[in-house]
Amino acid sequence: MAFIAALLPNEADRSALMHAAGEHRLLWADSWRGLNALVRDRPIAVVVTDLHAEPRKDGALRVFRFAQRFPLTPLVSWGDPDGRELFRIGKAGARDIVLTQDTADAAMISEVIDASLAATLPRVLQEHLRGRVDDAGLELITVAAERIADGIQVPELAATFRYSISTLERRCEVMQLPTPGRLLLWLRVLFGLRWLLEEGRSVESVASQLGYSSGAAFRRAIKATIGGRPTPLRNAEAFDQALESFAHECHATARGGS
């Protein structure tokens, strides 16, 4: 389940997206400015936007600005662009498109959204750890990661698997994973570090999205996992190192190892 931010002024388009979104949660914006604010302040995984949502604004240029501010948040454009506009939005950074002729097809819209979610952190984690931790452990990590945006806590994670908290703790121990509390702490930090790679987000906004009371609290969480401070960590290498540290704490085997 993921959060989708959408800017679709047309009621029929909204209805089509709602029908196709399934278990994903939709948050509506009423302007490009509102859309940017939503992505900055909420754990948005995908953005869907009508290119002509604001008639006097150049849709392709808005896509470009969005992609600059939030390069890791995929943007799906919606509409029926002519050849030149299609060229420009592709160049500006749109990751996919729902054509007007396909808006009645919920299956196709769902596929576009699912494909856009392929680069989200839960999937990145899954790829990074597959074959390195056992399948049950990977499932636990993935499920927890998918619900970080909901602010999941240990009791809810245990309930998801129909375990008591103590059973979940024992399972984690058997699977050589960190304790459930530390697992969620790690996942929040990884989400936060990834979001911080987007220049449109601040430490304060990321901390707030992850349920921390302040930026300082988020900084303490970082210190408790990988050490250091968030601002110097705003680069892809630092994120990759954090990911590897997490894998190490999950007792993942070395890459290419058995």
């Binding site: 030149r84 160049k91 054509l99 002729q101 396909d102 097809d105 196709m108």
Partner: protein
């Protein structure tokens, strides 16, 4: 900086980061205000989408949804003017896509790649070929080899020779099992063409010889014909004209499809013309023109026959054939006419009629511009320059001086002259 320029200045996105299938739009790079081209590449993008979807989902798409998507595209094609170039091929492509059969989808996608390639839309052709390759991974290595060969050819044409060699080598490896002989012949002959273009003539000849030997060993008549046809086409492109004529004529007797036979006979005739064996070439052109249905089929042999007369220096025949050819060419739609006008223009310049050559070349420039064909436009502009400088054709004529053909090729030319009509007469088969 103008708002528009903010995006124009951006580099093109990597294929892996772009909207699926968007890379066909790369064709617009630097020409994004060309509305005609923009519409054409948008059409490519739209028709490719169902295939990209099949490929990305391992051909496991909901049938209803897939059918709706294809039907929407069919409706879009139906709404286009009937003069839209390639409309019939796109319709047949959609029919193949609607089957969701990986091999049919891959081959049909390759066909559109070839169509885009013929119009010098190499970016679009590459995207179709890459998609065909991905679809072929669900079919069999033979189709993968064919797609790899097309990619090799596109890379060669765009000057990316190391990539072309990589694709060719891959195609040869994929087509190694005996059941993919035809694909193997295509792949090796493409590799030979690459060597030819890179001026590695000894390697090219050696490879072509290898193909020829292998093709001769094959007992299966259809595969034999496929291999020989591939060898003929590549040998002609690589400048091994005599090999092309021999193999082409050999293949002609083993191919059942009339359209393929006509295409092959035309290329055999072109080979004979290049070797200055004009009688044989003219017999082929004449047979093709007589059995043609409609101006589109007649225009090619009549135009080439006129060129043949010009190259032979037979002015009287040239004038008569030129006029006959023009009669048919003027019946064609604009988009199809340009290539013929260019050929006739060159022939006029060859015969010293610079004025008429210039008129044809200028018309070609206009049509090529209108239909977004930069390659044809460049050739036509080159001819304009030659024709307007009042050259008497010496420059063009200087390009057509091949070495004298061997005796067995001369004998074959006589045999072809006698048998050309038989080969293209439908009642024979």
């Amino acid at each position: 900086m103008a708002r528009y320029d903010r995006i124009a200045a951006l580099p093109l996105p990597e294929r892996s980061h772009a909207i699926p299938g968007w890379c066909v739009m790369r064709e617009l790079s630097g020409r994004e205000r060309d509305t005609e081209l923009a519409n054409r590449v948008r059409l490519y993008f739209l028709v490719l989408r169902p295939v990209r979807r099949l490929v990305e989902r391992g051909f496991a798409v909901p049938p209803d949804s897939h059918d709706r998507q294809v039907a929407a595209m069919r409706a879009a094609l139906d709404a286009m003017p009937t003069t839209t170039p390639g409309l019939a091929r796109l319709r047949s492509f959609l029919s193949a896509v609607s089957t969701r059969a990986p091999e049919r989808v891959a081959l049909a996608t390759l066909d559109v790649a070839t169509m885009a390639e013929a119009r010098s839309h190499y970016e679009a052709a590459s995207e179709f070929a890459l998609t065909a390759l991905a679809a072929a991974a669900h079919a069999n290595p033979g189709v993968e080899a064919r797609a790899s060969t097309v990619l090799a050819r596109l890379q060669r044409k765009t000057g990316h020779w190391s990539d072309a060699e990589r694709w060719s080598t891959r195609a040869v490896d994929l087509a190694a099992p005996p059941s993919f002989r035809a694909a193997w012949a295509h792949a090796v002959t493409e590799l030979a063409t690459l060597y030819h273009v890179r001026s590695a003539q000894s390697e090219a000849v050696s490879l072509l010889g290898r193909v020829r030997k292998r093709v001769a060993e094959w007992k299966d008549e259809l595969l034999l014909a496929d291999g020989a046809e591939a060898l003929a086409a590549t040998a002609l492109a690589a400048g091994h004209t005599e090999v092309a004529v021999h193999e082409g004529w050999f293949a002609l007797h083993r191919i059942n499809d009339t359209e393929r036979r006509r295409r092959l006979l035309l290329s055999v005739a072109d080979g004979l013309r290049t070797l200055r064996l004009f009688a044989g070439a003219d017999a082929c052109y004449s047979a093709l023109a007589q059995t043609a249905v409609g101006p589109a089929e007649r225009a090619a042999p009549l135009t080439r026959a006129a060129v043949s007369a010009a190259e032979a220096g037979d002015l009287a025949s040239f004038r008569e054939r030129h006029d006959r050819s023009m009669h048919e060419v003027l019946e064609l739609q604009d988009g199809h006419r340009a290539g013929f006008l260019l050929e006739l223009g060159r022939a006029c310049v060859l015969t010293g009629d610079g004025e008429r050559g210039l008129a044809h070349a200028s018309a070609t420039v206009r049509l090529a511009e209108m239909h977004g064909d930069p390659c044809l436009q460049a050739h036509a502009q080159e001819l304009c320059a030659v024709a307007s400088a009042h050259h008497d054709g010496a420059i063009l004529a200087g390009r057509h001086q091949p070495p004298a053909p061997a005796d067995d090729t001369r004998e074959l030319a006589a045999e072809i002259a006698a048998g050309a009509q038989r080969v293209v007469t439908p009642s024979r088969r």
